[in-house]
Symmetry: C2
Subunit: 300 residues, 2 copies
């Protein structure tokens, strides 16, 4: 194992700790009670891949950790809200998440809906933190965030996913791809390009990285749903196949899905070519390369 191979996990640990503390601090400012407890519960655990993307995207463009952290918190809060709402009985009806009972099981449906709603607002609030940058940067981030997570992005993707479950014909590969590029890809795209926006740089290379990373991530998720076990994954598996849902695995088969994910990872790595190998830039680019490889080898 090279020095860089150990640097990425160390950085991941550091980022996770910073995000954990940041989330706790932001939530501690809210009035105590069941709403805050449920919001906090929804934010516990997780791989923090989206937050890590923000931090490394920032470093890649020469932004400070202190400036990137509120953006990473926004992305993680938003992700937590989306999971809480996706798990609701009227949606995916899941009872297990990150190895714990889902939010509406632990509390109640009403509390879970409200905790998700309030996490969305709190995510936007993070982006207004003066530490992030000047007002131009912050407004641009708010606009890009709103576009990524709403009726053109994440929520649109989730709606397609729900509709597909009720449709007679399963989706084809293009439809699954565009659904996933919205449902998980849009927020990943926001996270990966945040550093460029913060420094007024061209976000295109990181957008290309994110497109490939997002699809590789989703293919890996579909593979895990078939091959993973619940205890390691911390969530129910085998649900998609049981529901007859079109996934990358059902459409491509396990082997071709694996090949496709590996090809996406190579393209994601290639997208990082424009970035130099300065101390900070090089370390961040290498971490992002390793992250791309990590997402298809993870077990959770």
């Amino acid at each position: 194992m090279s020095a860089l191979d150990t640097a990425m996990p160390a950085r991941m640990t550091e980022v996770r700790a910073a995000i954990k503390t940041g989330l706790e601090t932001a939530l501690a400012r809210l009035p105590a009670g069941e709403l805050r407890d449920a919001m906090e519960y929804g934010c516990v655990g997780g791989k923090r891949i989206r937050g890590f993307l923000v931090m490394e995207s920032a470093r890649l463009h020469g932004a400070e950790d202190a400036a990137a952290l509120p953006v990473a918190l926004a992305v993680e809060m938003l992700h937590a809200y989306s999971l809480i709402h996706d798990d609701l009985p009227a949606m995916d009806d899941d009872d297990l998440r990150r190895g714990m009972p889902t939010c509406h099981i632990q509390w109640s449906e009403a509390t879970a809906i409200l905790a998700g709603d309030a996490l969305q607002s709190l995510a936007f609030e993070q982006l207004t933190d003066p530490a992030v940058g000047d007002t131009e940067v912050r407004v641009t981030l708010v606009r890009r965030f709103a576009e990524a997570i709403g009726a053109r992005g994440m929520v649109w993707g989730q709606m397609q996913d729900i509709s597909a479950e009720q449709a007679v014909e399963p989706l084809d590969l293009n439809a699954v791809k565009s659904l996933q590029q919205a449902k998980t890809g849009a927020l990943i795209g926001f996270a990966a390009t945040a550093g460029a926006v913060m420094r007024g740089a061209d976000p295109a290379p990181m957008a290309e990285y994110a497109r490939n990373l997002g699809l590789a991530f989703q293919i890996a998720d579909d593979i895990l749903d078939v091959t993973g076990d619940e205890e390691t994954a911390g969530k129910r598996v085998g649900k998609d196949a049981a529901a007859g849902k079109a996934t990358f695995v059902s459409l491509l088969g396990l082997e071709e899905a694996r090949d496709k994910a590996a090809a996406m990872v190579r393209r994601a790595e290639l997208a990082l070519t424009p970035y130099g190998d300065g101390d900070q830039t090089g370390a961040a680019a290498e971490n992002l390369r390793q992250l791309a490889r990590f997402v298809i080898h993870r077990q959770t």
Copy 2:
């Protein structure tokens, strides 16, 4: 009837038309489908009191209608999302709203949850519209909006309301007041102070106006729940009494509740004293005075 008495309804009609067109335009930019249809459905109708507050608050401070409109749209989208989620079976479980089936009855629970979620994001997006003002103004509005509608404001109030329904002891007057100041008052406060923020003026007088207007509005709502009829109100009435819920009417009686609402309206009018009587300012202040009187005499 004086000229001013006819000016306010005319301005209200004008503002409602501008908001209707603005909402339609913003929603038309989204991908077609059930999600957009449900979002549009949730935005139809309504008195547009919050949007009107934004427009008159802007005029009171010398801001243009074109600058205020995106903020009014944000407030109305946010209000629409809050009604869609409040009406859900796990929340207030209402089947009638603005004289039409509620969103989850018309579509489905999943669609209603997602339509609300996407309306929240879209509301934030409106605030980033360059027409609103410079980046400093827009970031400040985003921050104030996030604070007003989240776990310190609107959602906190809704959570208290839901919890109160399950509690053994009904709430006392102070608890009902603080619940309502959050649940309906926080967004009204944001709307009423938006103009001051847009023009860098002191928001305190309009915040005082909004506090009183919001409480008068809520007392009138509680009175309507007892004395109103469903057809005129366009929503179910008598629900609070049937649920044994503490309201301003159950705590004060009908007569004292009416007196209190009238006193609040006088205080709201008094809060407008600092504003001059220039052409625009005077007209806006007079409209805001009439709005305060309107909220306690409305039948819906």
